[in-house]
């Protein structure tokens, strides 16, 4: 072992340690920000390690430097600009886009190595070694392509650029996807047999497979898919690590792959969905419309914003339940103004955050934090549920399935078993909603029929704005 090898070894070891500490730290609120920086530092360290190794051994040609600099500047610049500009509400599609590009990178590396075998590795080309090489290239291309096209489709659907085509909800899609999967398997074995030209077949069919699998999935399940694709991009990175013989890449890729899988599992649990049904079930609303959970509402009470304001004024304790609809309406800032007024009047305000509130788990916390809501006011479901009986008013804003009492009472309901917020136990519940449409599960919400529930119809942002006006007229929060 000569010096550059030892130095690289030490740097790699340090980078792995720091990356692991980074991921660990990201799971605690206090240390999260530093942990993120630590991970970023570890990544730059790993680059320095790699470059110094090549400088110390074979040297780096000027031509290589030029291409390194071009690629780095363009990629970093676009990444930084997008990260600074993108609004917080579009976080899910932004993560999807970044993730897709990571997959693309692994795909290109494998493609490059496959088309132009790296000279040094062709020296000791025994059968076993070349087999491993072919397998890791194929895996890297396969997973990388699925990650890329899947993420792009996910992003396009979240942005509303792509809708769900009708045929993807029928059984045809399973047939189509199986054809793609079989075709990629054929290309895979053909490639291992030494037929290099089938690499293009592999690229095409695995790309199509990524599209075919993601396209039928409904918008609300998309976060789960993104998290899964995030896990895939880790696997793609690990596969690329086998291609270029880098342990650091394998460790980091495997860590992200495993962590992504756990996160996916957690998200599924919160939504009471199994991973299998997310991936193969199509969009939930399509299959459950015929099920027993649907039915007519019999006892809807609708009320005006004015009544709502009067009730709020008289309350001592108010719990806000924000949901997907609030995120879509981008009404978090308006909501904050309302709660500020209430707080100035001495009313206790707490936010009840369901684990999957918003467009992604934890997304609601980010949105409310952006609107300057104090962190202490955000209460998680298990903490806040015992408080509902002692609460005067609950404001449900754009949330639906997460406050459906069916999940507790009706064992025939598809929602049964999902953890929900027990809002019906409060004295009065106001549900601010655009219309009587169902939540993404497509299931009737029994809460709306309860005598202590009143509906306030309208766009969340508009209703909240009107509410501010009404509260002002009542003299709330003006001292």
């Amino acid at each position: 072992m000569n010096l550059p090898v030892i130095i690289k070894f030490i740097i790699d070891l340090l980078a792995v340690l720091l990356l692991a500490l980074g991921i660990k730290g990201l799971s605690k609120v206090k240390s999260a920000r530093d942990a993120n920086r630590l991970a970023a530092f570890a990544m730059s360290l790993s680059v320095i390690g790699l470059l110094s190794y090549y400088l110390g051994t074979s040297g780096i040609a000027i031509q290589s430097w030029i291409w390194i600099i071009i690629g780095s500047i363009i990629g970093s610049l676009f990444g930084a600009i997008l990260a600074k500009k993108v609004p917080m509400t579009s976080m899910p599609e932004t993560v999807a886009l970044f993730n897709g590009c990571g997959g693309m990178s692994s795909l290109l590396v494998a493609l490059g190595v496959a088309i132009f075998p790296i000279s040094s590795s062709s020296e000791n080309l025994d059968f076993f070694k070349s087999l491993i090489n072919q397998v890791s290239i194929s895996v890297s291309i396969f997973v990388g392509a699925i990650t890329f096209t899947g993420s792009i489709v996910a992003m396009a659907k979240l942005q509303g650029w792509l809708s769900t085509p009708g045929w993807t909800q029928s059984k045809v899609r399973h047939f189509v996807n199986i054809v793609f999967a079989v075709a990629s398997l054929i290309a895979f074995f053909d490639l291992i047999n030494g037929n290099t030209s089938s690499i293009w077949l592999l690229v095409i069919v695995s790309s199509l497979l990524g599209i075919g699998v993601t396209l039928p999935i409904g918008g609300a399940d998309m976060p789960v898919v993104i998290s899964l694709l995030n896990s895939y991009s880790g696997i793609a990175a690990a596969a690329a690590g086998f291609v270029v013989d880098s342990q650091l890449l394998i460790v980091a890729g495997a860590m992200v792959g495993a962590a992504g899988l756990i996160l996916t599992q957690v998200m599924c649990k919160g939504m009471n969905r199994s991973l299998v049904s997310v991936l193969f079930g199509g969009s939930l609303s399509a299959q459950s419309t015929a099920s027993s959970g649907s039915g007519e509402y019999t006892n809807i009470t609708s009320c005006s914003v004015e009544e709502c304001a009067l009730t709020l004024e008289a309350a001592n304790k108010v719990i806000i339940v924000p949901g997907y609809g609030l995120a879509v309406a981008q009404a978090q800032h308006t909501l904050r103004e309302v709660t500020k007024k209430l707080e100035q009047n001495g009313i206790e305000v707490v936010y009840a955050i369901h684990p999957v509130a918003g467009r992604m788990p934890g997304h609601m916390n980010v949105l409310l934090a952006e609107a300057d809501v104090p962190y202490e006011q955000l209460k998680e479901m298990d903490v806040v549920n015992p408080d509902f009986p002692a609460t005067d008013v609950v404001l449900v804003l754009g949330a639906n399935d997460v406050v459906n009492p069916q999940a507790k009472n009706d064992s025939s309901s598809p929602l049964y078993g999902m953890p929900v917020l027990d809002v019906q136990e409060a004295r009065t519940v106001f549900v601010i909603k655009r219309g009587m449409s169902a939540g993404y599960s497509g299931i009737k919400n029994d809460l709306f029929d309860l005598p202590n529930t009143s509906m306030v119809f309208g766009d969340a942002k508009k209703v909240l704005n009107d509410l501010i006006g009404e509260l002002k007229d009542l003299g709330v929060g003006e001292k």
């Binding site: 680059v47 780095s72 993730n99 132009f116 000279s119 040094s120 990175a237 690329a240 890729g253 792959g257």
Partner: protein
């Protein structure tokens, strides 16, 4: 590095990943996903290796460079966006008082 030891590396790395993400408050799911996503851009090392070993092969240099660009887009964007999200949490208490 022999293939078998690389497999060990893969196995241990996966186990480490499973252990690290044991308990995460739901608050942090989105930032964690975004941060882990940034780390998956570590393929930039593979892209760099490709460029360094290209030995004047221009098409390979271009592929490597594009790959590096995609990876860095992932890494830089991912870390910045995660930092932006997390900055909103940490600034809270001081703002209140």
């Amino acid at each position: 590095m022999s293939f078998i030891s690389l497999l060990w590396v893969l196995l241990l790395g996966s186990l480490l990943g499973l252990e690290l993400i044991g308990k995460v408050p739901p608050t942090l799911h989105t930032p964690l996903m975004s941060g882990a996503n940034a780390i998956s851009g570590i393929t930039m090392l593979a892209a760099l290796t490709l460029i360094v070993k290209a030995e004047g092969n221009v098409p390979l240099l271009i592929i490597g460079s594009v790959s590096l660009g995609f990876a860095l887009f992932n890494v830089v964007g991912g870390f910045f966006v995660t930092d932006r999200m997390l900055s909103m949490f940490s600034r809270k208490p001081s703002n209140k008082k």
